[in-house]
């Protein structure tokens, strides 16, 4: 009997073993995809099972026919005006006619006012049209087989270029021009150029989406245009980009640096430099150029004018208060930190955010109170309400921060509401500051901006943009409405210096209720007449449209010590071009802000008409206007099919960091085992019968 069992065991194991060996052969019932993939992937079937490599891989045929895109950026920075020429060449490598649709980012304050389409030696000038009308013109040309291009705005910092009827094997080049003003903060001048639209989180329930939508996400009831702001990406696609900058700073520069990329600088003369992006590394992150004047030359004032037709335009940039004049505030503060620990923060972003938060907590004084609210799909506050910043509470805050993991969705709304509604009345007056640390990768910007606008009251809202390509539009707008300031942190090494600058702003009182007044005989309109609170090191920028040029400008405001009152001489002006465009762009922003805060349909309609008119007058792409360029003669024969393809962006692999989980599921039943044992038992029974017969003989 024992012998039989041993034999059975031996048979049993050899069978199960041989099954495994047998199955080590390639799975032949899968039809081969192509001979190439088999040659590449089916090298050694036995090794495959033990090392677990890929059995079959779909050869990406779509990649071979993907539209190629080459981008050239040329910037002309004169003083505080940056004029940018963005050239995009779309090449169609496939054998069919295609339409390419490319979703790309621009700075959130860019005034896009020109589009040209280049076909051979011909240049076709784009026209500004009302959005729907522009779309109709483009569609008609596309249908007629004419080469056409269309630039639309999806968000102030997200645009779409559509280029129709690219012939097989040929290219169409479009040139987009925009203008922006230079940012001045803490005596440093800077411009940012975003390279990629990062993957945005889309909240809400999916709703009907056009079948020809090219985005990764379907539209939702909360983001009704989600499919337009979620461009597909591909890790292997090549999207070369070159940047060339002519910098005429208007003063002797001390330093010129690119924060995240390597550049080469050629001195044309002492005030004129030529800057080029060196290589193509780290193209998925924002390009930032920072320049500073030599120490004793820090300008307090810059005034530029331009005359166009009968109108004068005047731009004033002033740093009316020096750091030293704003004395350190002794007012105790209540600081609420809101930290984003959603999936998009994974990796370096989360590290930077944690480091920044830990530094911030450590710097709080005993008289201050604080709380931390962590959010991803849901939110978790550290304390139910703000607690005194004493040692034990600060310690639990630091432990809480260290334990944060980046995963889940990006749903900041409830966290922000909690920050506002957990407000308490204390015996003494506290200065309440909310600090929002995030990469801002959301697509429902307006819900968030609206929430802050509605709940802000006397609180201040500061934003810290974390990571490679933070959503600057969201960050700056929140800080504007929240009467706070925004800061970018793109690298761990930047955390300390950037946070120190922010603390100076947090700890010193701001100049509030700022008004700019011109002499009474001047008839002037200020483009954006609400000037955000001014913190140490910040600069006021104002653009006026006026009938004559004034000599003086009065700045008034409220400071901690009392009223602030300063009259500055602006008789020394320099002529500049493009001030009118900046005026139009700022006026547009003001009207859009008003539009966004209106809920009444009729009033909205009026606002829309005003915006459209202004944008058409200043030739600007906006929420309601687009640029469209059309070729005169058709080039695609009527019978040829036109395929519409999304121009994929290069996938940011550093962000794309899939979670690795240890799989524990047991995915087989005992069915085979039971059947096998049953079969063996029956077999033994049979054998026993045979043997007995033998014995009988």
């Amino acid at each position: 009997m024992t012998a039989t069992l041993v034999i059975l065991c031996a048979i049993f194991f050899s069978i199960s073993y041989s099954t495994i060996i047998f199955k080590n052969k390639p799975v032949t019932n899968n039809p081969p995809v192509s001979s190439i993939s088999i040659a590449e992937n089916l090298v050694n079937p036995i090794n495959q099972v033990t090392s677990g490599s890929i059995v079959y891989k779909l050869p990406n045929t779509t990649r071979l026919t993907q539209i190629a895109l080459d981008t050239k950026v040329e910037m002309d920075i004169a003083g505080v005006v940056n004029r940018v020429r963005l050239e995009q060449s779309f090449t169609n490598p496939s054998s069919e006619w295609v339409e390419g649709v490319y979703v790309f980012p621009l700075p959130e304050d860019s005034a896009v006012d020109r589009l040209t389409m280049h076909i051979g030696n011909r240049v076709l000038e784009g026209q500004i049209k009302e959005k729907e009308q522009a779309r109709k013109i483009y569609q008609a040309a596309k249908k007629a087989g004419k080469k056409a291009s269309l630039i639309e705005q999806q968000r102030p910092n997200i645009f779409t270029a559509s280029v129709a009827n690219i012939p097989p094997g040929e290219s169409i080049t479009i040139v987009i021009e925009y203008q922006q003003s230079v940012l001045i903060d803490n005596d440093k001048f800077s411009i940012r150029f975003p390279m990629v639209v990062s993957d945005r989180y889309v909240p809400g329930k999916e709703i009907a989406t056009p079948t020809d939508a090219l985005g990764l996400s379907l539209n939702t009831h909360r983001v009704t245009d989600a499919s337009k702001v979620t461009p597909p990406s591909d890790p292997y696609v090549d999207r070369p980009i070159s940047i060339n900058i002519n910098l005429k700073a208007g003063f002797k520069t001390d330093t010129i640096e690119s924060t995240y990329h390597t550049i080469s600088i050629v001195n044309v003369d002492s005030q004129h430099k030529h800057i080029a992006l060196n290589n193509r590394t780290e193209l998925e992150r924002d390009f930032e150029l920072v320049w500073a004047p030599i120490a004793n030359l820090q300008p307090e004032l810059a005034v530029f004018t331009q005359q166009k037709n009968d109108d004068h335009y005047l731009m004033v940039m002033a740093a009316p208060v020096k750091k030293s004049t704003l004395t350190m505030s002794k007012t105790p503060r209540e600081v609420i930190f809101i930290i984003d620990s959603s999936g998009s923060m994974q990796g370096s972003s989360m590290k930077q955010a944690k480091q920044a938060l830990i530094e911030a907590i450590s710097r709080l004084g005993k008289q201050d109170r604080f709380n931390i609210i962590d959010f991803d799909s849901k939110f978790t506050p550290l304390f139910t309400e703000a607690m005194p910043a004493i040692h034990i509470n600060k310690n639990s805050g630091i432990q809480f921060t260290k334990g944060l993991d980046a995963d889940g969705g990006t749903e900041p709304l409830e966290a922000i509401k909690y920050a506002f509604t957990s407000r308490k009345q204390y015996g003494q007056k506290l200065l309440r500051q909310i600090i929002f640390l995030t990469d801002g990768q959301v697509s429902n910007e307006h819900e968030i901006i609206d929430t802050v606008r509605q709940y802000i009251e006397q609180d201040k809202f500061f934003t810290i943009g974390i990571g490679y390509a933070p959503n600057s539009y969201l960050m700056t707008k929140l800080a504007d409405y929240g009467r706070g300031a925004f800061t970018y942190i793109g690298e761990l090494s930047e955390v300390h210096s950037k946070m120190s600058e922010l603390f100076t702003k947090l700890e010193s009182p701001a100049l509030t209720n700022i008004k700019l007044t011109l002499p009474t005989h001047i008839n002037a309109e200020q483009a954006y007449d609400v000037i955000p609170d001014l913190y140490a090191g910040e600069t006021i920028t104002a653009v006026f449209k006026l009938n004559a040029l004034p000599d003086t400008l009065k700045i008034t405001g409220n400071a901690l010590g009392g009223d602030f009152n300063k009259t500055i001489d602006i008789s020394q002006v320099s002529e500049a071009v493009g001030v009118d465009v900046l005026w139009g762009r700022r006026k547009l922003e003001k009207l859009i802000d008003q539009y966004n805060s209106i809920w009444d349909d009729e009033a909205r309609n009026y606002a829309r008409i005003a915006i459209t008119k202004l944008a058409l007058d200043y030739h600007l792409v906006s929420k309601f206007t687009s640029l469209v360029a059309i070729d005169v003669t058709p080039s695609r024969p009527g019978l040829e099919h036109l395929a519409t393809k999304a121009v994929t962006k290069k996938m940011d692999l550093s962000m794309f960091n899939p979670k690795q989980i240890t799989y524990q599921g047991q995915t087989a039943t005992n069915a085979n085992l039971w059947m096998f044992i049953g079969f063996i038992l029956v077999l033994i029974a049979m054998l026993m019968r045979k043997r007995r017969r033998n014995w009988l003989r």
């Binding site: 995809v33 999916e206 039943t669």
Partner: protein, 186 residues
């Protein structure tokens, strides 16, 4: 006498073995009923009173004539009745990986016939559908390797034990079928 006992035990054991796949088939009927009720009522309905699981999505493949209801969770008691969605992956996050496990000898037997390029359709309780195209088929050793879960890319991973006709359950090899949801691939 011994012979008869052996024969009886043998046949019973064999029958029990063949019963397991049948049970899995039958339970799908009850689960399907719960699925339709869940859609109608808008709440999660359990397939039977004492069940501790509820349906979350429907998985279909026309080519392989499969129409399965997936339950939440991937523990043994779930997988005995239906394929299960891993708690690591939420069905509510539509731009992430959905990791679905099933028994190699019941619901997921069809995976051995699946080929790159095959289409799999999912339907969630709110009736939103998604099409997935099989892009990779891997065999991994779970004692040494991990399975990657993306928070950004919409994909479906179907996992079952490997080899398909091994006699002993509990091996460490898994057959992983990855299917991608690419709305933009023409």
């Amino acid at each position: 006498m011994v012979k008869v006992i052996l024969l009886v035990i043998g046949l019973t054991t064999f029958a029990y073995g063949t019963y397991l796949p049948v049970k899995a088939e039958l339970s799908q009927l009850l689960i399907r009923h719960a699925w339709h009720q869940s859609i109608e009522t808008g709440t999660s309905i359990k397939p039977w009173k004492w069940a501790d699981m509820y349906p979350v999505m429907r998985l279909q493949s026309t080519k392989h004539q499969q129409d399965l209801i997936v339950l939440a969770g991937d523990t043994g008691n779930v997988l005995a009745f239906a394929p299960g969605l891993s708690p690591f992956t939420s069905q509510n996050n539509t731009s992430s990986t959905w990791l679905v496990s099933g028994h190699r000898d019941t619901h997921f037997t069809f995976l051995k016939d699946i080929a790159v390029g095959d289409l799999i359709t999912t339907t969630r309780l709110d009736q939103t559908r998604k099409n997935f195209k099989v892009s990779d088929i891997d065999v991994i050793d779970i004692s040494k390797q991990t399975i990657s879960i993306s928070d950004y890319e919409s994909e479906l991973k179907l996992v079952t034990c490997y080899p398909f006709d091994a006699i002993l359950p509990g091996g460490s090899l898994r057959y992983v079928v990855t299917a991608k949801n690419n709305l933009w691939i023409n």
